[in-house]
């Protein structure tokens, strides 16, 4: 055994106050859902199928000769629970995403995800705003904008109908690498240029995302250019991502396949599709809205911390 000559840092990366803040927030969340009649549930961390989203990489685990995937969100098993018995449910737990590390990213982080049968994404967005507002005594200013208005106000760019070349050029002018496609350029502009300018006491609700960024939300029946998805930013941090959930099993299977094709084209790992989710959707998912919230960023915002390591007892480097 080498002797610890004080070169090995064993201490937590979070101060004691951050531990208390986390415990208080968990209690607040559980009290809120208990009062609302939303049931806390638990689903597996290790799954036999991976998330197909090309923007998210799973961490794999050797489960004794075969491979399992650490979940990147509890979305699929929670939807299977809803298909079995449709009632409001939530899960508060750890999720994992390979290589996501930075001042507001840790490959292992805590996610709160919940579902409201019978609601649409706008009703759920209101609840997220209510829940987040209730966690602080600060007075907040809530901004509600469509994706298109947000880009128009901030940069004078038409994010939905603008020409790809113009959008890519606008991103490159503001420091983006060359060779981006339209959606990547929009991603860059939102996360590197627009969001950093949001005020700290501002909650920004963005709705009307481009249909190409629908992920697992429905396409708007009245406007096929956009989907029924929202995001909530607290200050400049992306906190919540919610959908009026896709319930059509055939459309779900198509999106899985399209993800797989994108992964193949990019040379990314292509893993088994979650056939159990498709089977559950075939059995029937009641119309519902669902949202995922990043607990660690919520804590950063509440405590005024600027690095995620300050709210994690042991961050990725010291875990």
């Amino acid at each position: 055994m080498p002797i610890n000559d004080q070169c090995i840092r064993w201490q937590p990366t979070a101060e004691f106050g951050a531990r208390r803040l986390r415990a208080d927030l968990y209690r607040y969340i559980r009290d809120y859902f208990s009062e609302q009649g939303v049931l806390e549930v638990e689903t597996p961390l290790l799954s036999s199928a991976a998330n197909s989203d090309p923007a998210i990489e799973s961490i794999t685990a050797d489960a004794g000769g075969h491979c399992r995937y650490l979940r990147t969100s509890p979305e699929f098993p929670l939807k299977r629970l809803l298909c079995h018995h449709s009632s409001a449910i939530y899960e508060l737990g750890k999720v994992f995403r390979a290589s996501e590390q930075g001042s507001s990213h840790n490959p292992e982080f805590t996610m709160l995800e919940w579902y409201r049968p019978g609601w649409d994404h706008l009703q759920l967005a209101d609840e997220v705003i209510e829940l987040v507002s209730g966690s602080t005594k600060r007075s907040l200013n809530v901004q509600r904008l469509s994706y298109q208005d947000l880009f128009d106000d901030a940069l004078g760019i038409d994010a939905l109908d603008g020409k790809t070349d113009d959008i890519v050029a606008a991103a490159e002018k503001r420091g983006a690498p060359t060779g981006l496609n339209k959606q990547q350029a929009l991603d860059y502009l939102l996360s590197a240029v627009i969001a950093p300018s949001f005020g700290n006491r501002q909650l920004t609700l963005i709705t009307g995302f481009p249909a190409a960024q629908a992920a697992l939300s429905r396409i708007d029946p009245n406007d096929a250019r956009v989907c029924q998805r929202f995001e909530l930013y607290v200050g400049s941090a992306e906190l919540a991502n919610g959908y009026h959930e896709l319930t059509d099993p055939a459309e779900q299977a198509r999106r899985f396949q399209s993800d797989q094709q994108t992964r193949q084209r990019n040379g990314q790992a292509v893993s088994v599709l979650d056939q159990r989710l498709i089977a559950a959707l075939q059995a029937g998912l009641e119309s519902c809205a669902g949202v995922a919230v990043g607990i660690d960023r919520w804590l950063m915002w509440l405590g005024g911390y600027d690095r995620i390591g300050q709210v994690l007892n042991f961050d990725w480097e010291s875990a």
């Binding site: 923007a55 998210i56 930075g102 420091g175 996360s191």
Partner: protein, 189 residues
């Protein structure tokens, strides 16, 4: 050719951009939950010292710069190059004026400097943080003045000029902070 993925980016990593060596000062990971991830880094050009911001798609690779730092002993100058010796192999390396930068006004023979080598050649020579140098020329001090009110210029044996307190005399050895170019104290022989 060695390369780094953006996933390996961290401060201090040395990379090659448009043929120039850069040091990563700060790296930030930017990613929307459902979208393209980017690495946005502040990088310093090791040749010019200039810092710029640059963004990559996460997962892209960047060429590594063959950069490392070594303490080398200064031997002499022929006016065009300043020659340093690797103390173990006795190998000699010449640094040009650009690599010497401000350091050339502080060092004298046998001083050990931290030298940044790029592809084995001196790129940046850093003088020691503190050097002790003799004053070769300064006006006589004023009797009774013990603190350095305004001070006066003094020329050192290397040619550098620093402001010293009035009580410091020609022929004395003083300690200088090379990072600020400021007088620190007299050195008792």
């Amino acid at each position: 050719m060695a390369t780094y993925s953006t996933n390996e980016f961290r401060s201090g990593l040395k990379i090659l951009l448009d043929g120039d060596p850069y040091n990563i000062v700060e790296n930030e990971f930017v990613k929307p939950g459902k979208g393209q991830a980017f690495n946005r880094a502040r990088v310093r050009n090791l040749k010019t010292g200039r810092t710029v911001e640059k963004t990559w798609k996460s997962g892209e690779t960047v060429e590594a710069a063959d950069i490392f730092e070594k303490p080398l002993q200064y031997l002499y100058s022929d006016g065009e190059f300043w020659y340093f010796m690797e103390p173990e192999t006795f190998e000699q390396l010449g640094a040009d004026e650009a690599a010497m930068g401000e350091s050339l006004q502080w060092i004298k023979e046998e001083d050990v400097c931290m030298v940044t080598l790029w592809n084995g050649q001196p790129l940046v020579v850093e003088a020691p943080n503190f050097v002790e140098l003799q004053i070769t020329d300064t006006d006589p001090g004023v009797r009774g003045d013990t603190s350095g009110g305004g001070g006066k210029p003094a020329t050192l044996e290397t040619g550098a000029v620093v402001r010293v307190p009035l009580f410091v005399n020609q022929g004395e050895v003083i300690k200088v902070d090379t990072r600020t170019g400021e007088y620190v104290s007299r050195v008792k022989e």
